[in-house]
């Protein structure tokens, strides 16, 4: 992307775990509730309370570690990270410092047909902070309001190696990570709700340089698009500075999506003095092999494995397989349709085309649609058997999507059956020729292309219900007479 420099990017991703309760207390782990209705003395940090670790959160981080090819620590502990901020009622965050649950994993990505292996340094377990709202900008507001519902939500922080060489690779890594976490069901990864958040480190160095350049840390990127834009902007900003012979100032920058810029955050002078120490209120966790084995058994086929299977078993193109398997729900839906209608390529066309279009337009996910996969299979069968034309099939599908009615009922009630009956079609075709005498003359004079016009007229006369193949045959017959 830059001519004279090589880019180096590392990502720190926080994912909220989809447990029922918070990490250290029984309060509900739920987004969007009324402020401060999911709190208790433990998560409010009241004196005299003690945290107790949620077993499900431990199982989820181990599951994530296994799915990301990590080594799982047999002995793990928690530490206190100390800092004052109103979103943190205890004035420390319980996190992990030197003995995280998972280390040394990797994710394989593909960008422009090239394979890259991105290392994962570590994954640790910690608690989320509360949510602040300010009247206007944080620096202008004379007060802020705090909602502690989110405080204590279990989080995993996934730290990558600085292995990404372009903003595109960083986005591919994130998409793959999101897809895997969704597959194993440990997080719902809703970026818009903040359940998946990514911070990035970026530096550039002259081509061929042994040493890395000075890095900046980027925050506040809330979508894949924002991440790609922010990283691209930051790489170019650093390039300009270095070209002018200036130095990069190490520090944190925030992405302003509206302005399309990264801006320096004012650094708290002691920002990195977190004074970690072992958390005395929690005992260590020992993870035995039998526990790991049990968790391993709950991991389903992951996107890459499923993609290969689609190419081999269903014979669909690699591109189709990649698009469909990236989303577990979409893949489940696809398989359910293929189980009842075996032209997998036809199914994949519909799933990636009409179905995905309607999902996006209506902002629903495949698991929450009104109709059953078997209904789509039935529709495709009706189309294959020429009961309905492909144009009508799309219309019926949209109606299925919006109402949940089955295709047979829709076709019956709206009289959408394809007209293949020759005598009925013959009559209509004759009418069309009758009404367009001059075009008939054209055809007989040698302009065979006019046939397309007649087909169109016939389709219009039947509201799309005529079988176009049959219409063409009939027209040829009549015109050549």
């Amino acid at each position: 992307m830059l001519e004279d420099y090589e880019i180096t990017i590392g990502l720190e991703v926080h994912a909220q775990l989809a447990t029922n309760t918070k990490i250290f207390c029984g309060c509900k782990n739920e987004f969007g509730a009324e402020p401060n209705t999911h709190t208790c003395p433990v998560c409010l940090g009241l004196p005299g309370t003690l945290p107790v670790l949620n077993e499900q959160a431990v199982e989820y981080i181990i599951k994530a570690g296994l799915a990301l090819d990590c080594e799982i620590a047999t002995f793990s502990k928690f530490d206190r990270k100390n800092y004052f901020y109103p979103d943190l009622p205890k004035a420390y965050q319980i996190s992990q410092f030197d003995l995280p649950f998972c280390e040394a994993g990797e994710i394989d990505i593909q960008v422009d047909d090239e394979d890259h292996e991105i290392g994962i340094t570590r994954i640790h377990l910690e608690e989320d902070a509360g949510k602040l709202t300010h009247a206007g900008d944080i620096s202008n507001a004379d007060s802020s309001l705090v909602d502690y519902n989110r405080v204590g939500t279990p989080l995993i922080e996934i730290v990558s190696e600085p292995d990404m060489k372009s903003p595109q690779q960083a986005v591919a890594y994130l998409k793959k990570l999101k897809s895997i976490l969704e597959y194993i069901g440990v997080s719902d990864c809703e970026m818009s709700e903040g359940s998946l958040r990514a911070d990035a480190n970026l530096s550039i160095a002259p081509n061929g340089s042994e040493e890395l350049g000075t890095k900046t840390e980027l925050k506040n990127m809330n979508s894949f698009k924002a991440i790609e834009k922010a990283l691209t902007y930051e790489a170019k900003r650093q390039e300009k500075l270095l070209d002018k012979g200036e130095e990069i100032v190490q520090g944190t920058r925030t992405w302003d999506d509206e302005a399309g810029k990264t801006l320096a955050l004012r650094e708290k002078e002691e920002a990195h003095d977190y004074r970690y120490f072992p958390e005395p209120d929690l005992v260590p966790v020992i993870v035995k092999d039998s526990w790991i084995k049990g968790i391993k058994n709950t991991i389903p086929a992951l996107p890459d494995e499923r993609k290969e299977q689609y190419v081999e078993e269903f014979g669909i193109p690699e591109y189709d397989a990649e698009v469909i398997t990236a989303d577990r729900e979409l893949a489940d839906f696809f398989e359910a349709v293929v189980a009842k209608f075996d032209d997998a390529k036809e199914v994949s066309n519909w799933v990636m085309g009409e179905f995905s279009r309607l999902l996006n337009e209506n902002e629903v996910t495949p698991a929450n649609v009104e109709f059953a996969p078997a209904d789509l299979a039935k529709l495709l069968e009706m189309k294959e058997e020429d009961v309905i034309s492909s144009k009508i099939a799309k219309k019926v599908f949209e109606k299925m999507f919006n109402t949940g009615q089955d295709p047979e009922t829709i076709v019956e009630e709206e009289g959408l059956k394809q007209i293949s009956d020759s005598s009925e079609l013959e009559e209509i075709v004759e009418g069309v020729l009758e009404d367009n005498q001059s075009a008939v003359e054209d055809y007989k004079g040698g302009n065979k292309n006019v046939i397309g016009f007649f087909v169109g007229q016939t389709m219009q006369a039947t509201q799309g219900k005529a079988n176009p193949q049959k219409v063409k045959e009939l027209l040829r017959e009549k015109l050549e007479e």
Binding site: P35, V52, Q56, V58, K77, S143, L145, V146, Y148
Partner: protein
């Protein structure tokens, strides 16, 4: 180990404690004494001793993922010095 006053000021700031000149003087001595006392432990040979993660021998204290009742909104903010719309109201964060 002798602490300098600057370190004491820094530690106080990190803990958000306001201390006057006299206290700075007192704490500089007291904290130095505490560190000296702790320094004695360094005389022990800990070459083959694993660092301890916790003072007890207990491990794996876990709870099942069952929802328990939370406080009502009113109760949650009852002790807040200031409150608005069911939220804790705090003074300006960034100056």
């Amino acid at each position: 180990m002798k602490l300098d006053q600057e370190t004491v000021e820094r530690v106080a700031h990190l803990a958000r404690l306001e201390i006057d000149e006299e206290e700075k003087e007192t704490f500089t001595h007291q904290l130095s004494d505490i560190l000296d006392h702790a320094e004695k432990l360094n005389e022990l040979d800990t070459e083959d001793v694993e660092p301890m993660a916790h003072a007890t021998d207990v491990n794996n204290v876990l709870r099942s993922d069952d929802v328990k009742e939370s406080l009502d909104q009113d109760e949650a903010v009852a002790n807040a010095p200031d409150e608005e719309e069911g939220m804790f109201k705090v003074p300006q964060i960034v100056e």
